[in-house]
């Protein structure tokens, strides 16, 4: 997507925002003088409003990329843009974390000491943009929309893990982010709960059209959710192949039985398996 197009889109009110451009990013870890390359000259263009699935084996360096976008880690060289604004680059190796890019964490990061409602209201409260009453009204109505009524005053530890994930996504959406960054959020869920969560996520996506940068190692999940799959090579992390998922949205679980889905699965599984073997023999350590 060209910069001109983006700029004109930006000018138009209500148009999609949240295009990410990753240009030649390199990340080298140097903890004890021994340099380890985690991300190797990675370039990637994600248009606004796309669900982009980053697929690769555990510990291949996908999370490093996500952390760079979110502003948790610095990059060694290259540039990352959000809607043509520089997030991090040569002069500014580490992006500033902000509510335009919100991460949904692997093990969940709902504050266990706050009720679900307080968790959802947390972002706007911190930013101090709205009045307290407005924030809580909005939080209640958003929770109701996501089917979470009745759990407002429970602590996260009191509800099932599937519900917790849903609360976490609502907490992110409260801030009207441009991008949602998912770091293998459904990794710990069983496959049945996962399927429920996927449909719920798509439902939320259809209502809120944000850009989704979704890290996973689960191919089924990737094909079911994504517009595009970016298959990552392992150690260092670099896009190996980009696959367009030409199954039209909106999707539901009938997609899983379609022939196109099967074909895509067959196409990608070999690629991913190869990388998994490479990562496995390199010693599976979570990065």
């Amino acid at each position: 997507m060209s910069a001109v197009l983006q700029k004109s889109a930006k000018a138009e009110k209500g148009a999609l925002k949240g295009a990410i451009r990753i240009e030649d990013v390199v990340k080298i870890y140097d903890p004890e003088g021994a340099a380890v390359m985690a991300v190797d000259h990675c370039s990637l263009d994600i248009p606004a409003g796309e669900i982009c699935m980053i697929v690769g084996p555990s510990g291949c360096g996908k999370t490093t990329l996500l952390n760079a976008i979110a502003g948790f880690h610095s990059i060694s060289s290259g540039k990352i843009f959000l809607d043509d604004e520089l997030l991090c680059g040569p002069e500014k190796p580490m992006a500033q974390p902000g509510s335009d890019r919100i991460v949904v964490f692997q093990n969940g990061a709902l504050f266990p000491w706050k009720s679900n409602l307080d968790n959802v209201a947390f972002g706007p409260l911190m930013q101090g943009k709205l009045g307290k009453k407005e924030i809580y009204d909005k939080a209640r109505s958003m929770m109701a929309d996501a089917g979470l009524s009745g759990t407002e005053h429970n602590f996260p530890g009191e509800v099932s893990s599937g519900l917790r994930r849903r609360v976490e996504i609502v907490r992110a959406l409260m801030n009207e982010p441009k991008v949602l960054l998912f770091d293998e959020p459904y990794r710990a869920l069983d496959s049945l709960t996962k399927s429920v969560m996927h449909e719920a996520l798509l439902e939320i996506y259809y209502k809120n059209k944000v850009t989704i940068f979704f890290i996973t190692h689960d191919l089924e999940e990737a094909i079911f959710l994504g517009h595009r799959l970016v298959i990552m090579s392992s150690r260092p992390c670099k896009p190996k192949k980009i696959i367009d998922v030409d199954i039209p949205h909106p999707r539901d679980y009938s997609v899983l039985t379609s022939t196109r889905y099967r074909q895509l699965m067959d196409e990608t599984i070999e690629l991913v398996h190869e990388e998994a073997k490479k990562a496995f023999s390199a010693g599976e350590k979570e990065g």
Partner: protein, 440 residues
């Protein structure tokens, strides 16, 4: 299963516990006995709800359906537990849960309709049973109150949820039926008997010099104590108060200084790198080795004792708070940063509550070591206080008073720890509830 066994089982269950026995007989006549094998499903969610069940033996897994807003949908049922309560709710005619036997299980079932008809004849009893049902549904099955409120009522008075006290009383009666209290009192009995017989009856060598059980008790509860200290003498309370006051001052100072220090030590790496080494260098020195130096540093007898007590508590509090900050998962601070929290907001909203569990562990240790070093301080220097009582009673050969001092120390120390624990539970509702649900 005969009539008597059924009545006994009913009496062990939460809703029917207080029902008069003629009524119980009538209820027992409605009951039918059934047995299931491991893996059998008793009913599925959505089945027609006809009967109420009581487990006689075995275990049943009870899973409430999604959408009924139970905060903890899963529950394992054992002997005496009641399920299938949808059969008595006046707005429900289908099962809310799926129940599966986890081993060979025997149970009785009572038709809900017939049960309710039976209670129409004696509405007062009926209301009590139903309000206990409501409490059980709300508290044990974690269903919202509005669901539990749909039990029928028979008098004009609307059903009120039985209070938490009912549940507590029920649990107490359950406890009394278990072997635990009897073993406990046997244990106490053995302990006291050993003391009594070795010292006062058999007069074993070495033991004979010790103050005996009856001597100590007589002295402790005497209006005119031989050695001047009993629950009737004001001096006794003066000593307790002096010790408690020292603990309060030291514990307060240790908390006020130790918690912020610990928070900052955990939060700021630079601060930790400068301050922690000094902290670590001083820490291996036992608190009690400070006694003479404390006497030199703080003239008088009161401040050194308080200082010693403070020092012990301070280390425990600061160290545990720091550990607490360090154990907070990084993703919490990151999430806060994502959501637009400033550094200070993150500290207030994430670091402080996140360190809370460890902090309270620290405070519990802190109050324990405070008593530990207070006693030492009072024994070596200081006037008044329980440690002083114990030590002077020894030098003045008032042996029974030593034991009175020890017992009193135990009681006061235990009470203070319990208070700290309660304060912690109160401030960390989220954690208590999480743990109560089985630590997921």
């Amino acid at each position: 299963m005969d009539q008597n066994q059924t009545v006994a089982l009913l009496k062990r269950s939460m809703p029917f516990q207080t029902v008069p026995s003629d009524m119980l007989d009538a209820i027992a006549k409605l009951a039918r006995y059934e047995s299931y094998a491991r893996g059998d499903v008793i009913y599925h969610q959505g089945d027609f709800a006809d009967d109420v069940y009581i487990v006689s033996s075995g275990t049943v897994q009870h899973t409430l359906g999604i959408g009924f807003q139970a905060t903890h949908p899963e529950k394992i049922l054992h002997s005496g537990d009641v399920f299938g309560w949808a059969a008595v709710l006046d707005n429900q005619r289908s099962r809310l849960a799926k129940t599966v036997c986890m081993e060979r299980t025997e149970l009785i079932r009572i038709n809900g309709e017939e049960l309710i008809n039976l209670f129409r004849a004696s509405p007062e009893t009926g209301d009590i049973v139903m309000s206990r049902f409501a409490t059980m549904i709300n508290k044990e099955y974690t269903m919202p109150e509005e669901v539990a409120g749909h039990v029928p009522h028979f008098t004009q008075v609307p059903v009120t949820m039985a209070t938490g006290l009912t549940l507590t009383m029920f649990r107490l009666s359950q406890w009394l039926k278990s072997p635990k209290p009897y073993l406990m009192f046997t244990g106490f009995g053995i302990l006291l008997a050993t003391w009594y017989f070795t010292v006062e009856v058999w007069k074993l060598p070495r033991f004979v010099d010790m103050p005996g059980l009856t001597v100590v008790m007589k002295e402790w509860f005497s209006k005119d104590p031989v050695y001047g200290l009993s629950i009737y003498t004001p001096e006794y309370y003066q000593h307790i108060w002096v010790s408690v006051r020292r603990i309060l001052i030291a514990f307060f100072l240790a908390t006020v200084l130790g918690v912020p220090l610990g928070l900052f030590l955990g939060w700021s790496k630079t601060f930790r790198e400068y301050v922690f080494p000094v902290f670590e260098t001083l820490r291996p020195i036992p608190i009690l080795a400070w006694v003479p130096l404390a006497i030199l540093m703080f003239q008088g007898s009161e401040t050194p004792v308080i200082y010693l007590t403070f020092l012990a508590s301070f280390y425990a509090t600061a160290l545990n708070t720091m550990l607490g900050v360090e154990t907070i998962d990084e993703s919490y601070s990151r999430a806060a940063a994502c959501l637009g929290a400033s550094k200070w907001q993150t500290f207030k909203e994430v670091i402080v509550p996140g360190a809370m569990p460890f902090m309270f562990t620290g405070l519990q240790i802190s109050i324990g070591v405070a008593w530990f070093s207070l006693v030492a301080g009072e024994m070596v220097s200081g006037e008044f206080g329980l440690g002083y009582v114990i030590n002077t009673s020894y030098t003045m050969v008032r042996y029974p008073t030593i034991v009175i001092g020890m017992i009193t120390l135990g009681i006061v120390g235990y009470t203070s720890s319990a208070l700290v624990r309660m304060a912690g539970d109160y401030m960390m509702q989220w954690r208590v509830r999480e743990l109560a649900l089985g630590g997921r």
